[in-house]
Symmetry: C4
Subunit: 347 residues, 4 copies
């Protein structure tokens, strides 16, 4: 199946202050591949992604207990894609599936980083990933041990760049201080949650890091698990995942908020975005994607997809980014009321 | 054979200022495996240890001339344990069994460290150990050569962490000074002799190292070769190893002291500990284990076992640690009369 | 076919401030091998080069889309030359032939350097090249990333030295500053365009680098694509590549200038060089080669050849260098009128 | 054939400030193995050496064009010696035999060091040597390039230590300065010519290096090619190598001096040593060996042997060292008249 006619061209961005280019929209295996999405659908989504120019495929040892890596690796092999055309990532932290005793199969010790990467590469069927992430901060492991271990991974040819996911700004800064002191390589990218309703970390806490260390962002949840498509604007549809009564991790995560104050406040915001989307002649989903991409510190917005159509939809955002003029962005900020105040530093 | 019902849960501790967790009680091959304990018993002890949650198995190239490594490696293979669930160590210093000419098969030269580790890994049947120790200080080899050689072992993926055994505090500090100067990794753990009757090094000499460099301890001889179980309180039983008249290394080591002043003084101390154990409703052995574990600088207390029951017994200590209140510890200190005076440094 | 009698002896020069010696004339695959020159001719030219003492064979991943490396590698195998007798180079920047998506198959990211070198070595059928060049500056990639990546190539045994091609002096100086800061190896050689009509970069911009960092030069286009042989002095011959009406890359590159002001000015210069060559009893081609070699900062002048005779011709330059006395060089400078004024620095 | 009864015990010395121990007398392949000595004799000599406790076997890529390495490697295999019992060395500089074009098969460039070591290891049939020497200083290669290349050899596991042969003191000091600046390993040992008639370099020029950098010495020519045995005291015997009229490298080297002033002066010195040897009840050869060993900066005196008896003879020196009291050494100094004046530095 070929992509529909008339899709906009993929945009590529440098991953922070590195020489690597990633597609501005990318495909991730979180909550989908190896889990509730059947492998045939995973293959179809990855093929659709490749066909529209997505070159970055994001994974983690912890996604579906390693199955996400396995099925994504299978797709790469099946389609005979050239390795150098792809940017493949994985993340190390939750490797519990690799062993029986969880104590050293989790976190950022040298032991788990090395053993975790080796297990991930085996599942992926690859000699190396392009990007390796610390999937969370590990406050029980010295940052120096983690910095050294990821440099060991790079030195032994198992990855080209390393970064973090959901670290705090001061932890990233500390990793760089340790790396600089030892002449090692610091974390070049961070993978935070970022969307219209989740802005503080990317826009405020990290603000000085883009210039200082050239931090690149690969953000996840551009639609806030579908929330920003507006599909819950009029209540929870019975045919949606949230309405299905199933109890997988995704549902649990979302259910926690249904109906509470925070849920109501967010619904109100999303409802108010609808007229803006209508005025621009785009869907709310496209507005949400385009809004993330309008932040130039975002190297890539990672999306999940369980059907090829979702991949094609996401790419439409590239047409819409140009419509987000300063005035429109101001209008959105006013509706959301969550634009963080950032005090910039002179040095 | 499954462990008996009702054993307390294993506790895991970080190995000093590292991200690695070791079971607070661990199993060592010193004076037992590959030597006087038959292989079937070794397998049974290791299985019992694994079943109660022990993840750290300690060995050395010098234990039983390499046979200890061989049989422990065989057990790991036999039970199909996952490598990442285990923390396996070995130690380099006495590798005489590897050659005919002892001169370079001993000590901490780069040659012996590299050749010794390679031979150990071959005997263990492993690609790497988690921990590699310098089994003694080598005052004929520059510490820089040793620091570089252990870093080479880590860089080539043959170990994750390195440490020392029976080094003096100033030697550990010097190794760190050299490592810091060269941007290399210093020794993260030390393996000293530590029990109620042997306290000075751990409690006094090393006192400032726990904070300064984050030194972790894997201590040996928690029962002082059975002495602290109280089994010699009323003389040497004829069915004990000490009473058997055999002349293996263990016997020789212990015999040196039987009946001398130091022996008598120690027996007196151990006798006076009995009422304390009785009052707490635990055996003297459990008291000895719990006392070692009550020192939070101890990452793991290594025990030897020639029968699975000894492994199960040792784990009971975890129930008893809570009984060692400050008052009880004070009472023990008064009985022993050997608590070192420690002058702490502000910087 | 053996070289003709009476050819002068090959001269070897140190490659800048390194211990490597390269033949002062060398053979390159640019615009020839793997492209319009048939493989049999390539083999014959390489054999001729080896026979006259050329030890340096220059290539690039971008020459003829990788075919140049493939055929040069085939020649090395075919003639059973000893690897250590050869200095083989390749260059990384344009690796588009390696993939379908060009974004990461170009430039000096760690990803492309590592993947590009691996692909080049496979095409060459070699375990390592002697020299690896950055084929252009990549202003989108931090120089530190590039310096680290080339050091990784050297550390993993895939090259002995790294250098640059068509970088600016300040970029080379920056690469050295980064390398010095990190204790890494800087770029030892640069490959610029250098001939009687193209002098500024080598003689002026780089002037201080020869002493400061010991930069070596492997220059290309000694005859300016045949221009300096004088063959266009009386118009474009219909049997020349330029007159053939073909439209390959070479023709396009040259055609851009035919007849324009710069072309006319250059033709005038070349015409005025003829009497000087005649007076010295050498051809204009030999004069052009000898003039390049008279610059002692040139480690090797890379020439292209589609027939063995061209190789033999080029070597004649060694007899002519001695004829280029200061007076003759002054006469040439006056004719060309393009000698750069160089302001030297004391420190 | 077993060694004769009653030979003194081998002495082992640390190689300078390293943890490696070498036999104080060792066996070298210079001018003998792979050359005029037949392989069966080489095997017999090496067996005799091993049997008397010699653990250090010295070789070079340049000895007999690589044949010396080949036959020594064959002996090691043939006798099934354990690798860790041996200290095997080779030296890199003259690797002309490896190629057809000598330009890069000689010297201390990164290219030749790496290619030379690989070729040596292949001839020796070993994965690594213990010691790798720079066989001469290479004044055309930056010392930094050489220091980095030997560290690369060590980092890739192909050698444990590196050193120099016939370098000047300031070149060794410079290598250390470069190594210190870069955090790399400096040259731990030097191989100079040292005997009663050749003293200046070891006793004067290097004097401060023993303390400052812990330089170890593996000296060659303890008998000055047999000269110090006294066999030329009464003219050149017709059955000696020197009298045979053959023209191999050894003969040429020696012939240059026969009969000239320096020869006559040396003969006079050697003649005057005879009464001292007689008084001590030892041969002149034993005196010469013992004199070299009495210098505690000598880690090992390398001897050549074409018959096992020569090996046995050399070991007798250990009995004689004790006889070289300060008074006897003074007497020898007076006879030789060549004791260098050394001005020691306070810092």
């Amino acid at each position: 199946m070929a992509p529909p006619e008339g899709l906009p061209k993929m945009e590529y961005r440098f991953l922070g202050r590195s020489g690597l280019q990633v597609s501005a929209i990318s495909l991730g295996g979180w909550l989908t591949y190896g889990g509730h999405v059947e492998n045939e659908n995973t293959f179809a989504c990855m093929k659709a992604a490749y066909d529209v120019g997505i070159n970055f495929f994001d994974c983690a040892e912890g996604y579906s207990g390693g199955e996400s890596e396995r099925v994504m690796g299978e797709a790469i092999k099946k389609f005979k894609w050239k390795r150098n055309d792809l940017v493949v990532s994985t993340k190390i932290y939750w490797g519990a599936a690799n062993g029986e005793n969880p104590v050293n199969n989790v976190g950022l010790s040298r032991k788990h980083i090395v053993e975790g990467v080796n297990a991930s590469l085996e599942r992926l069927g690859l000699d190396y990933v392009d990007l390796i992430y610390a999937h969370r901060p590990d406050r029980n492991t010295p940052i120096e041990e983690t910095v050294r271990a990821f440099n060991h991974i790079i030195n032994t040819g198992k990855a080209f760049y390393w970064g973090t996911s959901e670290w705090d700004a001061d932890e990233i800064a500390t990793a760089w201080r340790v790396a600089d002191k030892l002449g090692l390589i610091g974390p070049i990218m961070e993978q935070p949650n970022y969307n219209m309703l989740t802005r503080d970390k990317v826009e405020k806490q990290f603000a000085h890091l883009y210039e200082e260390i050239g931090l690149g962002l690969t953000t996840f949840s551009p639609l806030k698990q579908g929330f920003l498509t507006g599909k819950y604007n009029d209540g929870i549809p019975s045919d949606s995942r949230l309405g299905s009564g199933s109890d997988d991790a995704f549902i649990k995560m979302m259910n926690k908020k249904v109906g509470d104050e925070s849920w109501k406040k967010d619904i109100a915001s999303v409802q108010k975005l609808k007229p803006i989307a209508d005025k621009l002649g785009i869907s709310q989903a496209t507005l949400a994607y385009a809004w993330v991409l309008s932040n130039k510190n975002v190297s890539s917005a990672i999306t999940g997809a369980s059907r090829p159509e979702q991949v094609y939809e996401s790419v439409k955002a590239f047409e819409a980014v140009g419509k987000l003029t300063p005035e429109v962005l101001k209008e959105i900020d006013d509706v959301l009321g969550n634009k963080p105040a950032v005090f910039t530093r002179r040095f």
